[in-house]
């Protein structure tokens, strides 16, 4: 069974947990997730999904083995499941399923990437940044990877220094202006893209994770600028493996010339989707998820 290495409060509502689970860590890709059994008792009943925040090695075991032995999750306290999770102690066993779902699709040569994170949406994006930055000193130029992080206030801005450390450019905004620019993170993105010529944005890729309204705006920006954009969506999950059809996300696909709506499973076909296939008009319901 997987084991908790640490479980730290990193700010008022946010925790970071490192878990020793070589079988999961060695296979995990950015954008994939795990399903965590919160308790052996039956309240809360269902497992809870968390994105893979970071891949790393157990501290005291510096092996030559290149494949990571640990994963980290970064989570926000929102209800009883996350409360109970935050009480787990170092050394305790923890029951995980994973890695699950399809991660971000990464072509061989991504020239420039822009990551947009809203609040706790930053969680799966750090492992993405780790991979985008490559293994040994590749893509070290700050221009190649920019992270936009937005939140309600300064407390919601996570991982700032972590992103800087791996050599990414970081741009911050908060709704209340308590850190970075005051306003929406997507407005900063629009400004940023305006400064680049179509030629410059030609080989750009967009990646996003965060609240649905943010992702929708991001998707619209990508559409108008004609930039490929992948978004990681949240949905209520029960099985996490594609068996229950519970995590359906409405997508629009082309069928015999018509655009038809088709439900896809966030846990199996997702959680990462190409932003153009999401049926965003559905938001009025989705927003309430």
């Amino acid at each position: 069974m997987a084991r908790v290495i640490f479980n730290r409060k990193i700010s008022s509502d946010y925790y970071r947990m490192r878990i020793l689970c070589p079988e999961i860590a060695s296979r995990a890709k950015p954008g994939q997730f795990i399903m965590v059994r919160i308790t052996e008792l039956l309240d809360p009943l269902l497992r809870r999904p968390f994105g893979i925040h970071r891949l790393c090695h157990e501290r005291d075991k510096h092996t030559d083995n290149n494949s990571p032995s640990c994963i980290e999750i970064l989570y926000k306290i929102v209800g009883k499941g996350t409360i109970v999770l935050s009480e787990k102690k170092k050394g305790e066993g923890i029951d995980l399923m994973g890695p699950l779902g399809n991660g971000f699709y990464l072509e061989q040569n991504i020239e420039t990437a822009v990551i947009v994170a809203g609040g706790i949406g930053v969680a799966p994006l750090f492992s993405l940044a780790q991979v985008l930055k490559g293994v040994k000193g590749k893509n070290t130029s700050r221009d190649k990877l920019t992270i936009f992080i937005g939140g309600e206030n300064r407390k919601d801005i996570l991982c700032l220094n972590d992103f800087k450390k791996i050599g990414a450019r970081v741009v911050v905004s908060t709704i209340d202006g308590s850190l970075g620019t005051k306003g929406l993170v997507t407005d900063l993105l629009v400004n940023f893209l305006r400064k680049h010529s179509p030629l410059e944005t030609k080989n750009l890729k967009l990646f996003g994770c965060g609240p649905l309204p943010m992702l929708r705006t991001l998707s619209e920006i990508a559409f108008y600028k004609n930039i490929p954009c992948q978004v990681s969506l949240e949905s209520r999950m029960a099985c996490g493996v594609g068996a229950c059809q519970g995590c359906a996300v409405p997508t629009e696909i082309n069928k015999e010339g018509d655009r038809v709506v088709l439900y896809q499973r966030a846990c199996k076909e997702g959680p990462v989707f190409d932003s153009t296939i999401i049926f965003w008009d559905y938001k009025s319901i989705l927003l309430k998820v």
Partner: protein, 315 residues
């Protein structure tokens, strides 16, 4: 009390369904098998029941489709399925490779549709039985479920009986005043087996936004919360019919499975528990074997309906 590790025979034959053990995966909770391939040794299961299938594909209900409740969950997946033709073409070949008996869960929104689906599935070698979901809304009768009216149940089951030579298991709805009259209708119409219970209709509200927590407003309650109701219904039906019963509802461990068998179930299905513990079916299979051995009981059959009830009471 250690004794020689005698092999216990868990195999059952219920109404023509032959299984190596009485533990099945319930419809809608185990996908088409392939989803759990990595997590469960599927060939160890007694049988695998597919997600409910209809004549034409359905896209299902709007999200959110799930909500957790205390000791249970509500689902409102709706009719989402790929349709019977795609099932045969795309899913059955893969399912066959597990070597586990496949039972197809079927439904329709008209009597005719039930019959047609059954006919299309008849004669497909890999399919060992049909489970008829009668909890589906009957479009002709204003959306009232077939499964709550004994006459409708008789009609649906008769229709399928004529269309198929496969063993027919009729899955009963718990949302009824008297489940035994429904059970008897199904028996009279030629059902080989009865399975119960399907989910209880429930609801949950998001009080911040004052909207339902499910896109479909209501959904089906499953999980340990419903086990006491399911047990009572299996016991009631066991006392009224002569065909085998398959117990379903909140089975999470060996004890739960034993409760159903003791009140009268010849086999059981596990649903929601897979989501929490993918090893649950394997644990129950082992647990049943141990219970039989420890209690010197030869076969599962000897345990079925072995409940002793008090014969006296005090005024």
């Amino acid at each position: 009390m250690k004794q020689l590790h005698k092999k216990i025979d868990l195999s059952v034959d219920i109404g023509g369904l032959k299984m190596r053990n009485p533990v099945m995966a319930a419809s809608g909770t185990f996908g088409y098998g392939e989803e759990y391939e990595e997590h469960v040794p599927i060939d160890h299961l007694g049988a695998l029941i597919t997600k409910g299938i209809s004549l034409k594909p359905h896209s299902g209900n709007p999200p959110p489709r799930l909500v957790e409740t205390t000791g249970g969950m509500l689902n409102a997946i709706g009719l989402q399925n790929i349709g019977v033709k795609a099932l045969i073409k795309e899913k059955i070949p893969n399912l066959m490779k597990f070597g586990t008996p496949i039972i197809v869960n079927v439904f329709g929104s008209t009597l005719r549709e039930y019959g047609e689906v059954a006919r299309i599935l008849d004669g497909i070698d890999a399919i060992k039985g049909l489970e008829v979901n009668i909890s589906c809304p009957n479009i002709k009768r204003g959306g009232i479920s077939f499964g709550t009216d004994p006459r409708q149940v008789f009609k649906v089951v008769s229709k399928i009986r004529k269309a198929s030579a496969l063993p027919i298991m009729v899955k009963l709805s718990p949302n009824v005043t008297d489940i035994t009259t429904i059970a008897r209708s199904a028996e009279e119409a030629g059902a080989d087996v009865l399975s119960l219970i399907n989910t209880l209709t429930g609801m949950a509200v998001d009080v911040d936004n004052r909207i339902p927590k499910l896109g479909n407003i209501t959904g089906g309650l499953s999980g340990p919360a419903i086990k006491p109701i399911a047990l009572r219904m299996v016991w009631e039906v066991y006392n009224k019919v002569n065909i085998p019963i398959v117990g379903i509802g909140g089975i999470f461990n060996t004890y739960d499975a034993l409760e159903f068998i003791i009140v009268g179930a010849s086999a059981i299905q596990i649903g929601t528990a897979h989501f929490i513990n993918p090893s649950v079916a394997m644990e129950v299979i082992n647990g049943l074997e141990n219970y039989l051995r420890d209690n010197h009981i030869g076969t599962i059959q000897d345990l079925v309906g072995s409940l002793e009830t008090p014969t006296f009471s005090i005024l």
